[in-house]
Amino acid sequence: MVATISILAFLTAVLLAVSAGWLALRRAGKKAKRQAFYAILAFILSLATAWGNLTGEQPPSPANQARPPVAQTASPPPGTAPDTSTSQEKPPGASNQPAASGKLRVHYLDVGQGDAILVQMPDGKNILIDGGTSDAGPDVVQKLKQYGVEILDFVIGTHPHEDHIGGLDLVINSFPVGKVYLPRVTHNTDSYRDLLLAIKNKGLKATEAKAGVALPLEGSIQALFVSPARKTYEDLNDYSAVLHLTYGQTAFLFTGDAGTTVEEEMLAGGKPLKADVLKVAHHGSRYSTSTAFLKAVAPWYAVISVGKGNDYSHPHAQTLQRLQKAGVKIYRTDRDGTITALSDGQKVTIQ
C-alpha cells in the first residue's frame, strides 16, 4: 500500500521534472519554474513514503541485529519464535558462546557444619554436590524445593564422610535422579550404607568419580573431575571428588575435603584448576588450601561452608590468612547464610 504511493509519487516527480526541463528548453520561464517546484515536492513525497515503508515493515530489533547473516536472508514466517531459528542456524563454532540470557547459578547452601552445593545450569538441569549431614537431610530437601528443583540430573557425593553424604539418601529418595557419582572407596558408617541402599533401591548405579571423568553436559558448560587420581589414599578426605566446572569464560572449583597432599598431586598433574570461585576445601581446615594451590586456582572469591561455633574451630585462622594474603574475597555460610554465585558466562557476581 505505502509502497505503491511512493512509486507513484516518484514517477510523478520524474514526469514533472522532465516536463519542467522541456518547458525550460522552450524558454517558458514561469511555467518551467512551477513544474520544477511540483517535481521537487513529488520527489520529497516519494522519499518520505519510501522511508516509512522500510521502517514500517522491518523494525530494527536487537534480535534481528544479533542474528547471523544466514538467518537474516531467510525471513522467518510470522509467528515463529526468532530464538529457535537462531539456535538452529548457529554455526557450530558459536555453540561455545553462552546465550545472552543464560545464567548459571551456584548455591552454596547453609547446612551448618557440612557441604551441600546446588548448581543450576542455564538449560534448567541441576547438579547437587554433597547433601550435608544426616541431621541436615530434611533441610537440604526443603532448600532444593525452594530453588525449584524437580529433578536432580547429577548427584555427586565427594567422599563418604557423614558431613558430606549424610543427607544424600533422603535427597535421593525425594527427587528423581539421573546419575550418581562417588569416588571408589567405602566407609563403615550407617550413613554411607544408607546412601548405597538408597541408590540400589532406586535401581540406579553409581559412576566412579575420578580424575579425567567428565559429566555428560551440552553446550558451553564443561564439568571435569580433576581428582582423585590414585586408587588409594591414607585419609578418606583425600578421595574427594574435585570438580572443575567452566561456563563460557568463567570457572568454579569444588574441592570437597581434599587435603594438601592431593593439592600437590593436582598441581603436579597439570589439571585445570583456575577458577573465579573456589569452594574452600574441608570447611577452611588448615590441612587444605595451600599457598601454591591458591596461586594456581587464583580465585576472586572463596566460599567456606562451615557451621557456626563448630567443635573443630573451622575455619582455621591460618587458612583465612592465606586467603587474605592472596587477595581473595571470603564468603562464609556461618555468617552470610546461603551464598549464590551467578555467572553469565563472562563474569561472576556473588549475591
Partner: protein, 81 residues
C-alpha cells in the same frame, strides 16, 4: 514411644558406634543417624576412621566420693558463716 523390649524385637541389630572421621583432636562418632564427638585421647591409639568401637561406661564410686568430699570442703571455705 516404643518400649525397650519392643524396639529390640523390631531392630535386633544394635546400633553401632562407628568412627566417621577425625577432626583435629576430636573423633566424630556415628551412632545411628546422629553423630557426637569424643576427645581422641579417649580412644585407643590404633583407632582409624571406619572402625567400629564399643563404649563401656563404668561408674567409679571411689572417685565420686573423693570429688564430693573435695568440693564440699571448698564450699565450706567459700560460703559465709
Amino acid at each position: 514411644m516404643q518400649s525397650k523390649s519392643e524396639r529390640s524385637r523390631i531392630m535386633p541389630r544394635r546400633e553401632l558406634l562407628v568412627i566417621d572421621r577425625f577432626e583435629e583432636d576430636m573423633a566424630v562418632i556415628e551412632y545411628g543417624r546422629h553423630t557426637f564427638t569424643l576427645p581422641r585421647s579417649l580412644l585407643p591409639r590404633a583407632a582409624k576412621e571406619g572402625d567400629v568401637i564399643k563404649l563401656a561406661v563404668v561408674l567409679d564410686p571411689e572417685a565420686t566420693a573423693r570429688r564430693k568430699k573435695e568440693v564440699r570442703s571448698l564450699a565450706d571455705d567459700v560460703f559465709e558463716g
